[in-house]
Symmetry: C2
Subunit: 252 residues, 2 copies
């Protein structure tokens, strides 16, 4: 005894809406067995089977186009496709983890310093963008618009005084130098490492109105989690970002 289903029955049976079934028909993912003479869609057992498969792949997060290939092309390399999909999911998760870290840090900063003004809230993070721009476009933009333009703009972006700006540049250099020396010993509790962390703290306070150990550590985590930060530090010495983080964790 074979059974046939109206679109509504199949929808209830499978847990999707009728709109979804019509859409799957439209994109040739799941065609009905036949149509009644009044134009109603009729599905059979085979279609139910197919729909089950489609939905199961859908739960894995595959796109409908990918699913179409899987169920249409019998010699399709499903295992490979799933492994690729796995990689994509891992990347997505890494991105979300990064966001989560940043959100947490931002909330902490909000809790720690209510007196911050709105436009000051992200000073600590802002330089990240600037660094990125310097790295990626610095040379071109300097050639095109001249040195003063970009330096001016950077200062403006930071909203900081010329003195502080210069001071921070010196601090940055010192941090890098100290880290280089400390990394020779490989010891994160080394005196040079401690000095570097101290300088880093001072550097931080120029951006961040309220200093807290948590914020400092959070920023350290960011250095490792965010490839742009990592690249910035590692360009001076491989592994420097990681070393700085460990040093911060060991000394604050």
């Amino acid at each position: 005894m074979k059974i046939e289903y109206t679109i509504q029955q199949l929808a209830i049976l499978s847990g999707v809406t009728t709109r979804t079934l019509r859409y799957y028909d439209q994109i040739n993912l799941l065609k009905p067995l036949r149509f009644t003479n009044s134009g109603y869609r009729i599905y059979g057992d085979y279609e139910v089977q197919l729909l089950q498969q489609i939905l199961l792949y859908r739960e894995l997060g595959l796109k409908l186009e990918e699913i179409k290939q899987i169920i249409n092309e019998s010699n399709f390399d499903i295992k490979n496709a799933l492994q690729e999909h796995q990689k994509k999911l891992l990347k997505e998760r890494a991105i979300i983890d990064k966001m989560l870290l940043n959100v947490k840090k931002t909330i902490q900063s909000l809790e720690g310093a209510y007196e911050m003004k709105d436009h000051e809230r992200f000073e600590g993070l802002k330089d990240k963008k600037i660094q990125e721009n310097e790295e990626n476009y610095g040379n071109e933009i300097r050639g095109k618009y001249g040195n003063d333009v970009i330096d001016e703009s950077n200062k403006k972006l930071q909203g900081m005084s010329e003195e502080v700006f210069k001071e921070n540049q010196i601090l940055e250099k010192r941090i890098i130098d100290l880290l280089k020396e400390a990394m020779i010993t490989g010891d994160v509790t080394n005196i040079k490492a401690q000095e570097a962390v101290k300088c880093h703290k001072e550097w931080l306070t120029h951006y961040w109105p309220s200093y807290s150990k948590e914020a400092h550590k959070g920023l350290a985590d960011l250095y490792v989690a965010d490839e742009r930060f990592t690249a910035y530090y590692d360009q001076h010495q491989k592994g420097m970002a990681q070393f700085l983080r460990d040093a911060i964790y060991a000394n604050v």
Copy 2:
């Protein structure tokens, strides 16, 4: 000395495309300082500041509409918004984790049993959908289309013989009963718990062509990760899904 930027300059400076800036203008997220008489967009320092803020919130994963509120409404509760956002991110991550688990399990099943036919590949998972349907729509659908229709369809979906189908129904009952008894002791290594795991293994082999401890444990994880599974077991006894998982981990 104040600086003005063309759309291109600002784009390079901030790392976005000119299209993005035009779009932000269009949706009133970031308006240019002014237009030249030939219609060119000109941005000033303030706009650069705003853009920086926008991009930083964007990196946290917030939607442009939400960002608009944050930077427009000065008395907007940013902390609360970020906490809500954090919840959303956590949910997203949980979904991805679930997908990852399922993908892993599916790949394992592909590796372990090449002889599986295409339409048999998801038998082990398929019953999940069926259970869901039974739970959510079972009563309505029975009232509407009669008992035989849904039972028939279930059997068809499973592609299993009547004997195996009935056998499995009995097994399911036994598992539940054994778990209830075992849960009184609270000991997952209890003899009743062991029996339940044994029955569960037998039940599993009816769906899954090739048995492996990993697959069994993977399914156990799914029971806890997937709320529908959890609901199915917990309807008989609070905490049963968790107990079953622990029992499986303790006994296989």
